[in-house]
């Protein structure tokens, strides 16, 4: 009984009109929560002590680490949506992965730029082609490729199927990024928060990092819901224009 209720709730969401109504209801709350969390996160980021080795440069971590996490989470969301497109043919799944790609590219760009700005004073170099940096750069290129592919095809459902296959093939890069620091000898330091045996990072830095990570994640979901809503509207405009053209053709 509960199972069928959950399934029917889920399939209710497959209806774009219901999704639009839900988005209109939850978006103001999501945006407000994001703004509050960013205010707390930024306050904590700029009031905590500097690290004994890095000094105040540790503050770069509070934007670098959350955007790096998000670059991988966004791709995971896209991979789940790709399965939704290929297996369940969920009407919102292709809208979801198409809307997420530019967001993923933006967060990956922030991770790459802030990482480079941290690397210069700490490592003495802007960039090295080590396994972690290279695999994240490949992820950035994959996002750009997927955006280009989606825009190159006129038929949205065909574009969705082709990109869904590509997203799933490219998902192999996500574990490579995560474990690159363990599998290879990299200049990039190994994991210090999500690792076996718990975080090794000091409480002083862990709190601002966690609050910023939640703020970034909420920002991603707020923008994702907004971008999905925009994509549904875009498809409706295209469908109505086609209908208008057909009607004009019939009258002529």
């Amino acid at each position: 009984m509960t199972d069928s209720l959950a399934i029917s709730k889920f399939s209710d969401l497959a209806n774009p009109t219901r999704f639009l109504a839900l988005a209109a209801r939850i978006l103001p709350w999501m945006a407000a929560a994001t703004a509050i969390l960013f205010a707390i996160g930024l306050y904590l980021s700029f009031t905590t002590e500097g690290d004994y080795q890095q000094g105040l440069t540790v503050r770069i971590m509070y934007v670098h680490v959350p955007s790096a996490w998000l670059s991988m989470m966004c791709y995971t969301v896209m991979a789940v949506s790709a399965i939704g497109t290929l297996v369940w043919r969920h009407p919102l799944a292709d809208v979801s992965h198409k809307a997420a790609a530019p967001l993923g590219a933006a967060f990956t760009l922030i991770a790459l730029a802030t990482g480079s700005l941290w690397g210069r004073p700490m490592w003495g170099t802007w960039w090295v082609w080590d396994a972690r940096l290279t695999s994240v750069f490949v992820l950035f290129l994959m996002y750009l490729g997927l955006i280009a592919l989606n825009r190159a095809m006129d038929d949205p459902s065909r574009a969705a199927r082709v990109s869904a296959v590509l997203i799933l093939v490219g998902f192999v890069n996500i574990p490579i990024i995560k474990f690159s620091v363990d599998w290879w000898n990299t200049l990039h330091q190994p994991a210090s928060v999500i690792r076996m045996g718990g975080p090794t990072i000091d409480q002083e830095f862990l709190w601002p990092l966690l609050v910023m990570a939640i703020a970034f994640t909420l920002l991603f979901f707020t923008l994702h819901v907004m971008a999905m809503r925009n994509e549904i509207w875009r498809r409706r405009v295209a469908a109505q224009r086609r209908m208008a053209a057909r009607m004009a053709g019939r009258e002529a």
């Binding site: 934007v63 955007s67 933006a106 760009l109 922030i110 700005l117 941290w118 923008l223 224009r241 009607m247």
Partner: protein
């Protein structure tokens, strides 16, 4: 260059990218809403949104 420069640059880059992303998503939504309103004003509605009396 001081460490403050690198910290300020990191936050500035993140802020610019995020603000562009928010502005782009918001403006895109506004443009699509406007297009839908124009179509509606010219009498083109979704079949499901048409009043029952209009159905042909």
């Amino acid at each position: 260059m001081t460490h403050t420069f690198y910290i300020a640059m990191s936050y500035a880059v993140a802020a610019v990218v995020i603000l562009c992303l928010i502005a782009w998503t918001w403006l895109d939504g506004r443009a699509r809403r406007q297009e839908l309103a124009e179509l509606e004003a010219s009498g083109i509605r979704r079949r499901s949104a048409q009043p029952t009396g209009d159905a042909r």
